[in-house]
C-alpha cells in the first residue's frame, strides 16, 4: 500500500494548522520575552502570507539559519537551552517555525502533536479556571484540525467542529475515571530545574522600610484557612513568618545560625485548622501563633516558626493546631537575649536618648513598653505611603516624619526597646484575614502582610507587642481597609466597598477555592481518602490499576455500543412502510431491492390478487405520507397497515 502519511498536504487544510498554532502559542505571549513573541508572530504571519499567495515555502538553509538565530536568542535570554522556561520558549519557536515547512500530512501530524504538548506547558503559569476553559477551547481547535486533516476537503467547517466536539465530549468520561483512579505519585520525579518555580510573590526573609507596604498593595491570596471550630477573633490571628533578630541600621534579617531549643507552655487549649498555602518559595508555613502538635514533616525552630523541609513551591495543604495563649521560652538562652539587645553602633542617637530617659524614669519594662505605645498612639499616622528615610531611619521616623506602615512601627519599637535594655525582635507574617461567607474559609491576602514585635520579659518569656495596634487599632480589629484613609494605593480588589461586588468576589473566590481544594489539590492523600470512602480502603497501585482497567473497559464497551449500534434513523413514513413490507413478507411476498412501491403493487396484483386491494391502499397512503404535503397522511397509512389481513 502507499503511505498516505507521506501524502502531500491538502492546501485548504493549512489554515487549520495556523489556527491550531495560534491558539496554542497565543497565551504564551503573556509570559515569553517580547522579542520571542514578536519573532513567533512574525513567522506565523509570514507562513500565512506565503499560503495566501500560494508561494513556495522558504528553503532549508534559510530555515536552519532562522532556527540557529532563534536558539541563540533564547540562549542569550535564559543563559541555557534547557530547563522549564527556556524549554517552553524553544517549543514556541519550533511551533512557529514548523509551519514554514509543512509539506506533508506527516508534518501536519507533528504540528498537531506539538500543539497538544504546548497546551500542557500553559499550566506552568496558571491552573486557574479561566486557563482551564481557554485550554479546553484550544484543545477543541487542535482536535478539529486533526479531524480536518484526515477527513479531507469533504469535512466542512461546521461538520469538523461538530465532530471534534463530539469526540472531546466522549473522551471526558475517560478523563474523569483516569483522574480519580490513576495511581497518583507525589512529584517531583527528578530534580526540578532552578527556574521551576520562579516569580512567586510573598513575604521575603528580610525587612526594610517599604518592603511590607509594597506587598500590602498586592491583593493576591497568600493562604486560606479552614478552622474546625469557630474562627477566633481577628485581633488574635497572628500568622507567624520569619523572626528577624539582626539589624544593620536599615534591614532586619533572621539570625543565620542554628537555633537553641524551644520550650512552649500552653495556656489556652489548642484549636485545629487546615491551611492551604499558595506557593511562596520559602520554608515557613505561616502557622497561627503559637503552633502546636505539628505533623512530623514540619519542624518548629527556636523562634516558634513552623517550617517545612523544602521551600513551598506549589500550593500545599497542611493540618495544623495552634494555642492562642502560651508562654514561650521563659528561660531563654543568654546568648539569644544578648543577640536581641544588639544595635548597630552610632546609628539613631536620638532614639537612644529617648529610651535612656524612659529607662531612668520608669521602674519596670512593662511601663517602658506602655510609654512607647503611648508615643505612637498620640502623634503618629498609619499610611501606605510614608516619606523616604535616610541613614538614621528610626530617628527620622520617630522625630521628623512620624508617618509609616507596620514595618516602621515594629522596627522603631524594637530599636527603642533594645536601647532601653529589653530584649526585643521583629516578627514578620500576616495578620487577620477575611472570612468568605460562601464557603466559610478565612482568606488571608498579601495585603494582610504585617510586622510586629516580640519582647522578652522576665518570667513571661517572649511576649507579642504590636505597635501598629497602638497607632491604628482598626488595622488589627477589622482590617487594613478600615485602617487606611481614602486614596491609599490598596489593590482595587480590596478597596471594593460595594456590598454586591464584595459578594460577587466572595462567590468567585469560593469557586476558585473549591477548584483548588477538590480538583487541583487531588493528591495521593486525597485519592486514598476518596477511595476508602468509595469502599476501597488500603489500595496500592496494583489494585488501583485493576480497578482502573475494569472501569476503562466498561466505559469503552458503553461508548462502543453507543457509537456503533445506532439504528439508521428513518422518517416515520418509511418506518411504517418497512413494517408493511414485513407483513407482506410473512405472506411469502418479498420486495426486491430495485422494486418501487408502485412496481411492487403491480406485482402483488398479478401474483396475489387476494392481497391486492389492501396492499394498494397501503401503497397509496405511503406515497402520500412520504411525498405528499399533508401531515395527517400518516394516520391513513397506519390505518391501512392495521387493516392489512
Amino acid at each position: 500500500m502507499s503511505t498516505p502519511a507521506c501524502l502531500a498536504l491538502d492546501h485548504t487544510a493549512v489554515p487549520w494548522l495556523f489556527a491550531a498554532a495560534a491558539v496554542t502559542i497565543a497565551p504564551h505571549f503573556l509570559h515569553q520575552p517580547i522579542w520571542l513573541s514578536a519573532f513567533a508572530g512574525l513567522m506565523l504571519f509570514w507562513g500565512g502570507w506565503l499560503w495566501w499567495q500560494n508561494q513556495r515555502l522558504p528553503g532549508r538553509w534559510l530555515l536552519a539559519l532562522l532556527v540557529v538565530a532563534g536558539c541563540a536568542g533564547i540562549f542569550l535570554e535564559f543563559r541555557t537551552l534547557f530547563g522549564r522556561e527556556a524549554g517552553v520558549a524553544m517549543l514556541v519557536m519550533f511551533m512557529a517555525m514548523k509551519l514554514l515547512e509543512v509539506k506533508s500530512q506527516r508534518d501536519a501530524m507533528v504540528v498537531v502533536t506539538l500543539g497538544y504538548f504546548l497546551l500542557l506547558t500553559h499550566f506552568f503559569n496558571s491552573q486557574s479556571i479561566p486557563t482551564g476553559l481557554w485550554l479546553l477551547a484550544a484543545l477543541w481547535i487542535v482536535t478539529s484540525t486533526l479531524v480536518r486533516l484526515h477527513g479531507g476537503p469533504a469535512s466542512t467547517l461546521r461538520a469538523t467542529l461538530r465532530y471534534a466536539a463530539v469526540l472531546s465530549a466522549q473522551a471526558i468520561p475517560f478523563m474523569l475515571v483516569l483522574y480519580v483512579l490513576f495511581p497518583r505519585i507525589n512529584g517531583p520525579l527528578w530534580g526540578l530545574p532552578q527556574d521551576a518555580h520562579s516569580g512567586k510573590t510573598g513575604l521575603s526573609e528580610t525587612m526594610s522600610p517599604g518592603s511590607i507596604s509594597s506587598l500590602a498593595q498586592n491583593g493576591d491570596i497568600a493562604f486560606r484557612v479552614r478552622f474546625e471550630g469557630e474562627i477566633p477573633a481577628k485581633g488574635k490571628l497572628y500568622w507567624r513568618g520569619p523572626v528577624m533578630e539582626n539589624f544593620d541600621g536599615t534591614s532586619w534579617r533572621p539570625f543565620p545560625g542554628r537555633q537553641a531549643a524551644e520550650h512552649l507552655e500552653l495556656i489556652a487549649p489548642p484549636i485545629s485548622y487546615e491551611t492551604t498555602l499558595e506557593a511562596h518559595n520559602q520554608r515557613w508555613l505561616l502557622a497561627l501563633d503559637a503552633p502546636v502538635n505539628l505533623p512530623p514533616e514540619i519542624a518548629l525552630n527556636g523562634e516558634l516558626t513552623a517550617a517545612a523541609r523544602q521551600p513551598i513551591s506549589t500550593r500545599q495543604r497542611f493540618r495544623l493546631s495552634a494555642s492562642l495563649d502560651y508562654r514561650f521560652n521563659a528561660a531563654e538562652d543568654p546568648a539569644v537575649l544578648r543577640r536581641n539587645l544588639a544595635l548597630p553602633a552610632g546609628r539613631n542617637p536620638l532614639a537612644r536618648q529617648l529610651a535612656n530617659s524612659w529607662r531612668a524614669s520608669e521602674p519596670t519594662p512593662g511601663a517602658i513598653i506602655q510609654k512607647a505605645l503611648a508615643l505612637f498612639a498620640n502623634e503618629f499616622f498609619y499610611t501606605l505611603r510614608p516619606p523616604l528615610l535616610g541613614g538614621n531611619s528610626v530617628d527620622e521616623f520617630l522625630f521628623q516624619t512620624k508617618r509609616g506602615f507596620c514595618e516602621h512601627y515594629a522596627a522603631a519599637f524594637v530599636v527603642l526597646m533594645r536601647n532601653a535594655g529589653i530584649p526585643a525582635r521583629v516578627v514578620g507574617g500576616y495578620q487577620g484575614g477575611e472570612r468568605n461567607p460562601v464557603d466559610g474559609y478565612l482568606v488571608v491576602r498579601q495585603s494582610d502582610a504585617h510586622a510586629w514585635a516580640e519582647v522578652w520579659l522576665e518570667g513571661r518569656g517572649w511576649v507579642r507587642v504590636d505597635p501598629t495596634a497602638a497607632v491604628s487599632p482598626a488595622r488589627i480589629e477589622t482590617g487594613i481597609l478600615d485602617a487606611l484613609s481614602e486614596g491609599e494605593p490598596l489593590p482595587a480588589l480590596i478597596q471594593v466597598r460595594s456590598e454586591w461586588l464584595r459578594t460577587l468576589r466572595h462567590r468567585w473566590e469560593a469557586v476558585n477555592n473549591a477548584w483548588n481544594q477538590q480538583i487541583l489539590g487531588y493528591d495521593p492523600q486525597r485519592q486514598r481518602e476518596l477511595l476508602s470512602r468509595l469502599g476501597l480502603p488500603d489500595t496500592d497501585w496494583r489494585s488501583l490499576a485493576t480497578v482502573l482497567g475494569i472501569a476503562c473497559s466498561l466505559l469503552l464497551a458503553i461508548v462502543t455500543a453507543w457509537t456503533l449500534y445506532q439504528k439508521p434513523r428513518h422518517d416515520p413514513a418509511t418506518r411504517l412502510w418497512h413494517k408493511a413490507l414485513r407483513q407482506l413478507a410473512r405472506r411469502q411476498e418479498n420486495c426486491a431491492p430495485w422494486e418501487t412501491p408502485l412496481a411492487l403493487a403491480h406485482r402483488v396484483q398479478r401474483e396475489r390478487p387476494e392481497l391486492a386491494a389492501p396492499f394498494n391502499r397501503i401503497v397509496v397512503a405511503y406515497l402520500q405520507a412520504r411525498y405528499g404535503k399533508n401531515n395527517n397522511d400518516l394516520k391513513t397509512l397506519r390505518a391501512a397497515i392495521a387493516q392489512f389481513p
Binding site: 500500500m1 502507499s2 498516505p4 502519511a5 522549564r84 500530512q105 506527516r106 501530524m109 507533528v110 502533536t113 497538544y116 504538548f117 500542557l120 499550566f123 506552568f124 491552573q127 482551564g132 485550554l135 484543545l139 482536535t143 486533526l146 479531524v147 486533516l149 484526515h150 477527513g151 479531507g152 469533504a154 469535512s155 461538520a159 469526540l167 472531546s168 466522549q170 473522551a171 471526558i172 468520561p173 475517560f174 478523563m175 483516569l178 483522574y179 490513576f182 497518583r184 505519585i185 512529584g187 517531583p188 520525579l189 527528578w190 526540578l192 521551576a196 506549589t314 480538583i519 487531588y522 493528591d523 476503562c552 469503552l556 461508548v559 457509537t563 456503533l564 445506532q566 439508521p568 434513523r569
Partner: protein, 317 residues
C-alpha cells in the same frame, strides 16, 4: 434465511455468491495504531511525566483527556468502516496494458457521513472517497490489465484513518468481479480484402462517404453516428435518428488466423488480429474473423467489433 444459514453467515463469514451486497461486520475489520498514533502516545507519556514532576493537576487532566480522545478516536475509526455496504458493479473491457476499472458502490445507511475511505486493489492505486449520510457513492477501482482474458478483481484493501489519524482500520474485500481484457492491438497494414461489393447491393452497413438519409437508432449504433440536430427537432417523442451513408466501395475482408505469421508467438498473432479488427472498424469495412475452431461472419459496427475482440480475448489455443 433460515437459522442455520444465518449462523453460518455470522460465524464463518460464508458468502452466498460474492455478488450480493456485503455489509462490513466487526470480524472483517482490523485496526492498529498509525505512526502518528505512536507519536501521539509517546507525547502523552512525556506529558504525563512532566505533569507528575511539576505536580500539575490540570496537566494530569489534559493527559487523561487526550488519552480518552485516543481511545474514542479508535472507536470512531472502526465505526467509519463498520456497517458499510459494498455492492459490486460492472466493468468495461479494456486492452492489455490499459487500466481496468472495477465499479463498486459503497452504501452508507447511517445518519452520519463516512469520510476518507481509501480503497486499493493494486499497490499505489488508491481511491479516496466520502459517502454522505444515507447515500451511495460509486467508485471505480483501477487495476492494470497485464494479461489477455478474464481479469478477476484482486483482493481490495479498504482502509480509513478518519477521524483522528491515530489508528488505521482496514478490511479486505473480495467481491466476485471480473473484467475482460482484450489482446494488446498492434498497428499493422490490413490484409488484402477478400471481395468488394458496390453500394447498390449493400447499403447502410457502415459506409461513411455519402449521406443517404436517416433511420432509427438501434442499440448497436455508435453515438458518433447519431444525428443529434435532426433528433432534437422532435425532442424525445421518437427514437434517436442515425445518419445513414451509402456509396463508395464496400470492402469486405476476412481477418484470418492463417494470415498471421505462424512463427510468431500466440499472443503476438492475437495482438495483430486485434489491431486489424480495430483498423477495419475504423476504416468502415465489413470484416469477419476466423480463428481455429470458430468463425465470425463479416459485419461491422460496435457490437460486432466487441464480439470479435471478445473472441480474441478468450481464445484458447
Amino acid at each position: 434465511m433460515g437459522i442455520v444459514a444465518t449462523l453460518q453467515q455470522k460465524l464463518f463469514r460464508w458468502q452466498s455468491d460474492g455478488t450480493a451486497p456485503l455489509r462490513l461486520g466487526q470480524r472483517r475489520i482490523f485496526i492498529i495504531p498509525t505512526r502518528g498514533g505512536l507519536l501521539f502516545a509517546l507525547a502523552l507519556v512525556v506529558m504525563l511525566l512532566g505533569a507528575i514532576n511539576y505536580t500539575l493537576a490540570l496537566g494530569h487532566a489534559l493527559v487523561f483527556l487526550l488519552a480518552g480522545l485516543g481511545i474514542i478516536g479508535m472507536v470512531h475509526t472502526f465505526r467509519n468502516l463498520y456497517g458499510l455496504i459494498i455492492t459490486p458493479g460492472r466493468s468495461e473491457p479494456v486492452f492489455t496494458g490499459e487500466m481496468a476499472h472495477f465499479q463498486l458502490t459503497l452504501g452508507n445507511d447511517r445518519p452520519s457521513a463516512r469520510l476518507a475511505l481509501e480503497l486499493e486493489a493494486e499497490n499505489g492505486q488508491t481511491v479516496i472517497v466520502a459517502v454522505n449520510p444515507q447515500e451511495n457513492a460509486k467508485i471505480s477501482l483501477p487495476v492494470s490489465a497485464r494479461k489477455r482474458g478474464w481479469l478477476a478483481l484482486p483482493r481490495v484493501r479498504l482502509a480509513t484513518r478518519y477521524p483522528l489519524g491515530l489508528f488505521v482500520a482496514w478490511s479486505y474485500l473480495q467481491p466476485a468481479m471480473r473484467c475482460l481484457v482484450y489482446p494488446q492491438p498492434i498497428n499493422s497494414p490490413l490484409p488484402a480484402p477478400s471481395s468488394t461489393t458496390t453500394s447498390g447491393e449493400r447499403s447502410g452497413d457502415g459506409g461513411q462517404e455519402d449521406f443517404a438519409g436517416f433511420r432509427e437508432r438501434q442499440p448497436a449504433d455508435s453515438p458518433r453516428h447519431v444525428a443529434w440536430k435532426a433528433s432534437a427537432r422532435d425532442a424525445g417523442e421518437r427514437p434517436l435518428l442515425v445518419k445513414q451513408f451509402a456509396g463508395g466501395a464496400q470492402v469486405e475482408m476476412q481477418l484470418d488466423w492463417a494470415l498471421t505469421d505462424p512463427a510468431q508467438a500466440l499472443e503476438s498473432r492475437l495482438s495483430l488480429l486485434a489491431g486489424w479488427v480495430l483498423a477495419a472498424e475504423a476504416a468502415g469495412c465489413s470484416y469477419g474473423l476466423r480463428l481455429p475452431g470458430q468463425e465470425i461472419l463479416p459485419n461491422a459496427g460496435d457490437a460486432h467489433q466487441r464480439r470479435c475482440l471478445e473472441a480474441l480475448a478468450l481464445f484458447q489455443a
